[in-house]
Symmetry: C2
Protein backbone atom coordinates (compact mmCIF):
# COMPACT_ATOMS: atom_id res chain seq x y z
CA UNK A 1 0.00 0.00 0.00
CA UNK A 2 1.66 3.22 -1.07
CA UNK A 3 0.39 6.40 0.52
CA UNK A 4 1.87 9.80 0.12
CA UNK A 5 1.58 10.52 3.81
CA UNK A 6 2.49 8.78 7.04
CA UNK A 7 -0.67 9.01 9.14
CA UNK A 8 -1.26 7.38 12.52
CA UNK A 9 -4.17 7.61 14.91
CA UNK A 10 -3.73 8.33 18.62
CA UNK A 11 -6.76 7.23 20.62
CA UNK A 12 -6.99 8.90 24.03
CA UNK A 13 -9.57 8.66 26.80
CA UNK A 14 -10.50 5.05 25.96
CA UNK A 15 -12.26 3.27 28.85
CA UNK A 16 -11.85 -0.51 28.46
CA UNK A 17 -15.18 -1.22 30.10
CA UNK A 18 -17.29 0.80 27.70
CA UNK A 19 -15.42 2.12 24.66
CA UNK A 20 -14.28 -1.10 23.03
CA UNK A 21 -16.65 -1.04 20.14
CA UNK A 22 -16.22 2.65 19.33
CA UNK A 23 -12.42 2.41 19.59
CA UNK A 24 -12.44 -0.64 17.33
CA UNK A 25 -14.46 1.37 14.79
CA UNK A 26 -11.94 4.23 15.13
CA UNK A 27 -9.05 1.88 14.38
CA UNK A 28 -10.78 0.16 11.46
CA UNK A 29 -11.83 3.50 9.99
CA UNK A 30 -8.25 4.72 10.18
CA UNK A 31 -7.01 1.53 8.55
CA UNK A 32 -9.61 1.55 5.75
CA UNK A 33 -8.79 5.15 4.88
CA UNK A 34 -5.02 4.92 4.82
CA UNK A 35 -3.59 5.23 8.33
CA UNK A 36 -0.57 3.09 9.18
CA UNK A 37 -1.66 2.24 12.69
CA UNK A 38 -3.16 3.34 15.96
CA UNK A 39 -1.60 4.17 19.31
CA UNK A 40 -3.97 3.27 22.12
CA UNK A 41 -3.40 5.32 25.26
CA UNK A 42 -5.01 2.71 27.49
CA UNK A 43 -4.42 -0.93 28.27
CA UNK A 44 -6.87 -2.95 26.18
CA UNK A 45 -5.39 -6.00 24.51
CA UNK A 46 -8.87 -7.03 23.32
CA UNK A 47 -9.19 -3.98 21.09
CA UNK A 48 -5.67 -4.47 19.73
CA UNK A 49 -6.45 -8.10 18.96
CA UNK A 50 -9.79 -7.49 17.29
CA UNK A 51 -8.42 -4.77 15.01
CA UNK A 52 -5.29 -6.74 14.14
CA UNK A 53 -7.39 -9.87 13.44
CA UNK A 54 -9.37 -7.91 10.86
CA UNK A 55 -6.17 -6.44 9.43
CA UNK A 56 -4.71 -9.95 9.19
CA UNK A 57 -7.59 -11.23 7.07
CA UNK A 58 -8.16 -8.11 4.99
CA UNK A 59 -4.53 -7.29 4.26
CA UNK A 60 -2.06 -4.48 4.76
CA UNK A 61 0.06 -4.02 7.84
CA UNK A 62 -2.03 -1.84 10.15
CA UNK A 63 -0.75 -2.08 13.71
CA UNK A 64 -2.13 -1.18 17.12
CA UNK A 65 0.31 -0.16 19.84
CA UNK A 66 -1.37 -0.89 23.14
CA UNK A 67 -0.99 1.09 26.37
CA UNK A 68 1.17 3.96 25.16
CA UNK A 69 1.82 7.20 27.03
CA UNK A 70 -0.07 9.73 24.92
CA UNK A 71 2.21 12.61 25.85
CA UNK A 72 5.28 10.62 24.88
CA UNK A 73 3.74 9.63 21.54
CA UNK A 74 3.01 13.29 20.81
CA UNK A 75 6.52 14.38 21.86
CA UNK A 76 8.20 11.65 19.76
CA UNK A 77 5.98 12.42 16.78
CA UNK A 78 6.88 16.10 16.90
CA UNK A 79 10.57 15.34 17.35
CA UNK A 80 10.43 13.21 14.20
CA UNK A 81 9.09 16.23 12.30
CA UNK A 82 5.42 15.24 12.35
CA UNK A 83 2.39 17.41 13.02
CA UNK A 84 -0.36 16.69 15.53
CA UNK A 85 -4.01 17.20 14.60
CA UNK A 86 -6.55 16.95 17.40
CA UNK A 87 -10.11 16.36 16.24
CA UNK A 88 -12.49 18.32 18.44
CA UNK A 89 -15.82 19.99 17.84
CA UNK A 90 -14.32 23.20 19.27
CA UNK A 91 -11.52 23.55 16.72
CA UNK A 92 -11.29 25.43 13.45
CA UNK A 93 -13.18 23.92 10.56
CA UNK A 94 -11.66 21.01 8.67
CA UNK A 95 -12.17 22.90 5.42
CA UNK A 96 -10.22 25.92 6.66
CA UNK A 97 -7.46 23.88 8.30
CA UNK A 98 -6.91 21.36 5.52
CA UNK A 99 -4.72 23.28 3.04
CA UNK A 100 -2.01 23.76 5.68
CA UNK A 101 -2.35 20.22 7.08
CA UNK A 102 -2.03 18.76 3.60
CA UNK A 103 1.49 20.16 3.41
CA UNK A 104 2.54 17.82 6.25
CA UNK A 105 3.99 14.45 5.30
CA UNK A 106 3.60 12.97 8.78
CA UNK A 107 0.30 13.48 10.58
CA UNK A 108 -0.80 12.15 13.97
CA UNK A 109 -4.58 12.33 14.31
CA UNK A 110 -5.70 12.49 17.93
CA UNK A 111 -9.17 11.06 18.52
CA UNK A 112 -10.57 11.59 22.01
CA UNK A 113 -13.42 9.87 23.78
CA UNK A 114 -15.93 11.89 25.77
CA UNK A 115 -13.50 13.64 28.12
CA UNK A 116 -10.26 15.05 26.75
CA UNK A 117 -7.54 16.40 29.08
CA UNK A 118 -7.35 20.18 28.84
CA UNK A 119 -3.67 20.21 27.89
CA UNK A 120 -4.42 18.30 24.67
CA UNK A 121 -5.57 21.54 23.04
CA UNK A 122 -2.22 23.21 23.67
CA UNK A 123 -0.16 20.19 22.61
CA UNK A 124 -1.87 19.93 19.22
CA UNK A 125 -0.50 21.79 16.22
CA UNK A 126 -4.07 21.97 14.94
CA UNK A 127 -7.39 21.63 16.75
CA UNK A 128 -9.80 20.73 13.97
CA UNK A 129 -13.57 20.39 13.95
CA UNK A 130 -15.67 18.35 11.58
CA UNK A 131 -18.86 20.39 11.93
CA UNK A 132 -19.39 22.22 15.24
CA UNK A 133 -22.12 19.77 16.22
CA UNK A 134 -21.97 16.78 18.56
CA UNK A 135 -21.93 13.53 16.59
CA UNK A 136 -19.18 10.89 16.67
CA UNK A 137 -15.41 10.69 16.80
CA UNK A 138 -15.73 7.92 14.19
CA UNK A 139 -17.47 10.17 11.66
CA UNK A 140 -15.05 13.03 12.38
CA UNK A 141 -12.09 10.76 11.72
CA UNK A 142 -13.67 9.38 8.54
CA UNK A 143 -14.32 12.80 7.05
CA UNK A 144 -10.93 14.12 8.15
CA UNK A 145 -9.10 11.20 6.49
CA UNK A 146 -11.19 11.45 3.32
CA UNK A 147 -10.41 15.16 3.01
CA UNK A 148 -6.74 14.69 3.91
CA UNK A 149 -6.27 12.14 1.13
CA UNK A 150 -8.76 13.90 -1.18
CA UNK A 151 -10.78 10.74 -1.67
CA UNK A 152 -7.80 8.78 -2.95
CA UNK A 153 -7.92 6.25 -0.10
CA UNK A 154 -11.53 5.24 -0.79
CA UNK A 155 -10.32 2.40 -2.98
CA UNK A 156 -7.08 1.28 -1.42
CA UNK A 157 -5.69 -2.11 -2.29
CA UNK A 158 -4.47 -4.03 0.77
CA UNK A 159 -1.58 -6.38 0.14
CA UNK A 160 -1.73 -9.95 1.36
CA UNK A 161 -5.51 -9.98 1.86
CA UNK A 162 -7.09 -13.40 2.44
CA UNK A 163 -10.45 -11.98 1.46
CA UNK A 164 -11.49 -9.25 -0.93
CA UNK A 165 -14.86 -7.79 -1.89
CA UNK A 166 -15.80 -7.46 -5.53
CA UNK A 167 -18.11 -4.42 -5.75
CA UNK A 168 -21.50 -5.38 -7.12
CA UNK A 169 -24.89 -3.78 -7.65
CA UNK A 170 -26.87 -6.33 -5.68
CA UNK A 171 -25.80 -9.01 -3.20
CA UNK A 172 -22.35 -10.06 -2.04
CA UNK A 173 -19.32 -11.10 -4.04
CA UNK A 174 -15.99 -12.15 -2.59
CA UNK A 175 -12.63 -13.26 -3.79
CA UNK A 176 -10.62 -15.40 -1.37
CA UNK B 1 -32.09 24.81 7.98
CA UNK B 2 -32.44 24.82 4.23
CA UNK B 3 -31.08 21.83 2.39
CA UNK B 4 -31.51 21.05 -1.23
CA UNK B 5 -32.37 17.45 -0.54
CA UNK B 6 -34.71 15.57 1.74
CA UNK B 7 -32.52 12.90 3.34
CA UNK B 8 -33.55 10.50 6.11
CA UNK B 9 -31.69 7.64 7.72
CA UNK B 10 -33.23 4.18 8.16
CA UNK B 11 -31.42 2.22 10.85
CA UNK B 12 -32.01 -1.54 10.61
CA UNK B 13 -30.71 -4.46 12.65
CA UNK B 14 -30.39 -2.39 15.85
CA UNK B 15 -30.21 -4.57 18.99
CA UNK B 16 -31.31 -2.54 22.03
CA UNK B 17 -29.02 -4.45 24.36
CA UNK B 18 -25.80 -3.69 22.52
CA UNK B 19 -26.14 -1.15 19.70
CA UNK B 20 -27.36 1.91 21.58
CA UNK B 21 -24.17 3.87 21.39
CA UNK B 22 -23.43 3.10 17.74
CA UNK B 23 -27.03 3.85 16.71
CA UNK B 24 -26.91 7.13 18.63
CA UNK B 25 -23.74 8.03 16.72
CA UNK B 26 -25.49 7.10 13.46
CA UNK B 27 -28.40 9.42 14.26
CA UNK B 28 -26.20 12.31 15.39
CA UNK B 29 -23.96 11.94 12.35
CA UNK B 30 -27.00 12.07 10.09
CA UNK B 31 -28.28 15.14 11.91
CA UNK B 32 -24.94 17.00 11.87
CA UNK B 33 -24.54 16.41 8.14
CA UNK B 34 -28.00 17.43 7.00
CA UNK B 35 -30.47 14.55 7.40
CA UNK B 36 -33.99 15.42 8.50
CA UNK B 37 -34.44 12.45 10.80
CA UNK B 38 -33.94 8.77 11.44
CA UNK B 39 -36.35 5.84 11.28
CA UNK B 40 -35.39 3.22 13.84
CA UNK B 41 -36.55 -0.28 12.89
CA UNK B 42 -36.46 -1.49 16.47
CA UNK B 43 -38.11 -0.48 19.74
CA UNK B 44 -35.62 1.64 21.66
CA UNK B 45 -37.08 4.76 23.24
CA UNK B 46 -33.73 5.43 24.99
CA UNK B 47 -31.96 6.01 21.68
CA UNK B 48 -34.79 8.21 20.41
CA UNK B 49 -34.66 10.25 23.61
CA UNK B 50 -30.90 10.69 23.69
CA UNK B 51 -30.72 11.84 20.07
CA UNK B 52 -33.70 14.17 20.41
CA UNK B 53 -32.29 15.62 23.64
CA UNK B 54 -29.12 16.60 21.77
CA UNK B 55 -31.19 17.96 18.89
CA UNK B 56 -33.24 20.00 21.37
CA UNK B 57 -30.18 21.73 22.80
CA UNK B 58 -28.20 22.10 19.57
CA UNK B 59 -31.06 23.22 17.34
CA UNK B 60 -32.83 22.17 14.18
CA UNK B 61 -35.71 19.75 14.07
CA UNK B 62 -34.14 16.33 13.65
CA UNK B 63 -36.61 13.60 14.59
CA UNK B 64 -36.33 9.92 15.42
CA UNK B 65 -39.27 7.67 14.58
CA UNK B 66 -39.08 4.69 16.91
CA UNK B 67 -40.09 1.11 16.14
CA UNK B 68 -40.97 1.45 12.44
CA UNK B 69 -41.47 -1.41 10.01
CA UNK B 70 -38.43 -1.08 7.76
CA UNK B 71 -40.16 -2.60 4.75
CA UNK B 72 -43.07 -0.20 5.10
CA UNK B 73 -40.72 2.80 5.38
CA UNK B 74 -38.97 1.72 2.19
CA UNK B 75 -42.26 1.14 0.37
CA UNK B 76 -43.68 4.52 1.46
CA UNK B 77 -40.45 6.30 0.58
CA UNK B 78 -40.47 4.84 -2.92
CA UNK B 79 -44.16 5.63 -3.40
CA UNK B 80 -43.40 9.24 -2.53
CA UNK B 81 -40.83 9.31 -5.34
CA UNK B 82 -37.73 8.85 -3.18
CA UNK B 83 -34.73 6.63 -3.78
CA UNK B 84 -33.28 4.11 -1.36
CA UNK B 85 -29.53 3.87 -0.86
CA UNK B 86 -28.25 0.95 1.19
CA UNK B 87 -24.75 1.39 2.58
CA UNK B 88 -22.90 -1.92 2.43
CA UNK B 89 -19.29 -2.86 1.93
CA UNK B 90 -20.42 -5.14 -0.92
CA UNK B 91 -21.98 -2.41 -3.07
CA UNK B 92 -20.62 -0.29 -5.88
CA UNK B 93 -18.24 2.46 -4.87
CA UNK B 94 -19.63 5.69 -3.48
CA UNK B 95 -17.60 7.62 -6.04
CA UNK B 96 -19.11 5.69 -8.95
CA UNK B 97 -22.66 5.75 -7.57
CA UNK B 98 -22.76 9.39 -6.49
CA UNK B 99 -23.44 11.26 -9.75
CA UNK B 100 -26.72 9.36 -10.26
CA UNK B 101 -27.72 9.56 -6.57
CA UNK B 102 -27.13 13.30 -6.57
CA UNK B 103 -29.93 13.68 -9.08
CA UNK B 104 -32.42 12.42 -6.46
CA UNK B 105 -34.17 15.02 -4.32
CA UNK B 106 -35.36 12.51 -1.73
CA UNK B 107 -32.89 9.96 -0.43
CA UNK B 108 -33.39 7.31 2.24
CA UNK B 109 -30.02 6.06 3.52
CA UNK B 110 -30.23 2.56 4.98
CA UNK B 111 -27.62 1.85 7.65
CA UNK B 112 -27.44 -1.73 8.83
CA UNK B 113 -25.88 -3.22 11.93
CA UNK B 114 -23.82 -6.40 11.71
CA UNK B 115 -26.44 -8.65 10.11
CA UNK B 116 -28.58 -7.30 7.29
CA UNK B 117 -31.56 -9.28 5.92
CA UNK B 118 -30.78 -10.64 2.46
CA UNK B 119 -33.79 -8.96 0.83
CA UNK B 120 -32.42 -5.50 1.68
CA UNK B 121 -30.05 -5.73 -1.29
CA UNK B 122 -32.92 -6.22 -3.71
CA UNK B 123 -35.13 -3.53 -2.15
CA UNK B 124 -32.45 -0.83 -2.44
CA UNK B 125 -32.22 1.32 -5.54
CA UNK B 126 -28.49 1.53 -4.88
CA UNK B 127 -26.19 -0.67 -2.81
CA UNK B 128 -23.23 1.60 -2.13
CA UNK B 129 -19.87 0.88 -0.51
CA UNK B 130 -17.61 3.35 1.22
CA UNK B 131 -14.37 1.45 0.67
CA UNK B 132 -14.61 -2.34 0.36
CA UNK B 133 -13.04 -2.79 3.78
CA UNK B 134 -14.69 -3.53 7.12
CA UNK B 135 -14.78 -0.41 9.31
CA UNK B 136 -17.92 1.26 10.68
CA UNK B 137 -21.43 2.10 9.57
CA UNK B 138 -20.86 5.49 11.25
CA UNK B 139 -17.90 6.35 9.04
CA UNK B 140 -19.68 5.05 5.94
CA UNK B 141 -22.66 7.29 6.66
CA UNK B 142 -20.43 10.29 7.37
CA UNK B 143 -18.53 9.99 4.10
CA UNK B 144 -21.69 9.25 2.13
CA UNK B 145 -23.44 12.36 3.50
CA UNK B 146 -20.39 14.54 2.95
CA UNK B 147 -20.13 13.42 -0.68
CA UNK B 148 -23.88 13.68 -1.25
CA UNK B 149 -23.93 17.31 -0.11
CA UNK B 150 -20.46 18.01 -1.54
CA UNK B 151 -19.16 19.31 1.78
CA UNK B 152 -21.89 21.96 2.02
CA UNK B 153 -23.34 20.51 5.23
CA UNK B 154 -20.05 20.70 7.14
CA UNK B 155 -21.04 24.11 8.47
CA UNK B 156 -24.80 23.97 8.83
CA UNK B 157 -26.52 26.49 11.03
CA UNK B 158 -29.15 24.91 13.30
CA UNK B 159 -32.09 27.13 14.13
CA UNK B 160 -33.19 27.56 17.73
CA UNK B 161 -29.94 26.26 19.24
CA UNK B 162 -29.50 26.83 22.97
CA UNK B 163 -25.79 26.30 22.58
CA UNK B 164 -23.38 27.01 19.77
CA UNK B 165 -19.64 26.44 19.35
CA UNK B 166 -17.43 29.28 18.16
CA UNK B 167 -14.56 27.66 16.25
CA UNK B 168 -11.23 28.49 17.81
CA UNK B 169 -7.59 27.49 17.40
CA UNK B 170 -7.08 26.39 20.99
CA UNK B 171 -9.51 25.60 23.80
CA UNK B 172 -13.30 25.82 23.90
CA UNK B 173 -15.59 28.71 23.09
CA UNK B 174 -19.38 28.65 23.34
CA UNK B 175 -22.27 30.94 22.70
CA UNK B 176 -25.43 30.20 24.67
Amino acid sequence: MKNMKDVWILRIGHRPERDQRVTTHVGLTGRALGAGGMYLASDDKGVKKSIEDVAGRWGGDFKVENNVSWKKVIRDWKEAGGKVVHLTMYGISVTDAMPEIQECEKVLVVVGAEKVPGDMYGLADYNVSVTTQPHSEISSLAIFMDHLFEGKTLDLDFEGAEIKVIPTECGKRFES
